[in-house]
Subunit: 152 residues, 2 copies
DNA sequence: TCACAATAGTCCGAATTAGAACTACCGGTC
DNA sequence: GACCGGTAGTTCTAATTCGGACTATTGTGA
């Protein structure tokens, strides 16, 4: 990604704060996740599987930030760590059901709450509840604009 | 990164929009950059070098999203493409000055404006000028909160 | 019943990523 | 002048990334 030095265009002046806010968050977020002995993608998969009875690869890919091509390797490593298991799906040999193991479920319960508790104060001291609402509204509009662009 | 399903906590409810807005932008941004035959990190380095007389690796690393460890390889590949050159620094054998070549300068002038023109409309249709100001202010507050946390 | 389109998941190659360890070099202090 | 701490850039490892190609399987329509 780029961080061009934009001075004149008011619209583009939201670009740098968006990227900088996200990266500042991501840096802290990723560092904490790594301290839990997981990579961000592994964490993403585990918290997405938590509280479900299992998801297929397609569902996982669409509900996480891990694309199809990358997911196989992430699941391989989680399986090697004994945190997930792959189960065949009755009636459809194409599909695989991915589930957390006992060990994976225990890890999910342990790390999820810890991570939320870790992240929450950063937002709490940055914005008032009213500002949270305003920021969310504007960010969703930006998201929607780019998502429409993707379909174009 | 993670996208936990957070329902109760108003502060955390800005997390998902932030991540989703950034990723939606990044997806479009990266795709356009790739269509220019560059990777996002290569683009980042080229636009950072554009309009300078050269930067050291340390300066480049701090002004782009490419960390020190990764930068060497990115510069290697840009050098192989003939877009940058490494020059020694008089009086300090530790430092290297990275400069765009003629070819690199021509590419910079060509792709930078094209990319800005490509990205601008997405933001323009999402926010009014007043909303740009509001969004920027709130995003910078989020950034600052996480950056302080990093120093802690 | 068959052919074809679509889906699911894997594999692949090139590039990137983070962070630590490493070598070479410079600056400050004694 | 010697020594030590700090800086600059490189190397290394394991993991990830993207997007397309691939194989196997299922669904649809004629």
């Amino acid at each position: 990604m780029d961080l061009p030095n934009l001075k004149d265009d008011p619209y583009l002046q939201v670009l740098r704060p968006l990227v900088e806010a996200y990266l500042a968050f991501s840096r802290i977020d990723s560092r904490h996740i790594r301290s839990l002995r997981l990579t961000p993608s592994q964490f993403d998969v585990i918290v997405t599987l938590g509280d479900t009875t299992g998801l297929t690869c397609s569902q996982l890919s669409s509900q996480t930030l891990v694309t199809k091509g990358t997911l196989t390797g992430v699941l391989d490593r989680l399986e090697t760590k004994g945190l997930i298991k792959r189960e065949s799906v009755l009636g459809d040999k194409r599909r695989t059901k991915i589930k957390l193991t006992e060990k994976g479920g225990a890890l999910f319960r342990k790390v999820f709450a810890a991570h939320i508790a870790f992240i929450r104060p950063f937002f709490a001291r940055a914005l008032s509840p009213q500002e949270v609402h305003t920021a969310s509204t504007l960010l969703l509009r930006i998201r929607d604009s780019f998502q429409k662009g993707g379909q174009a």
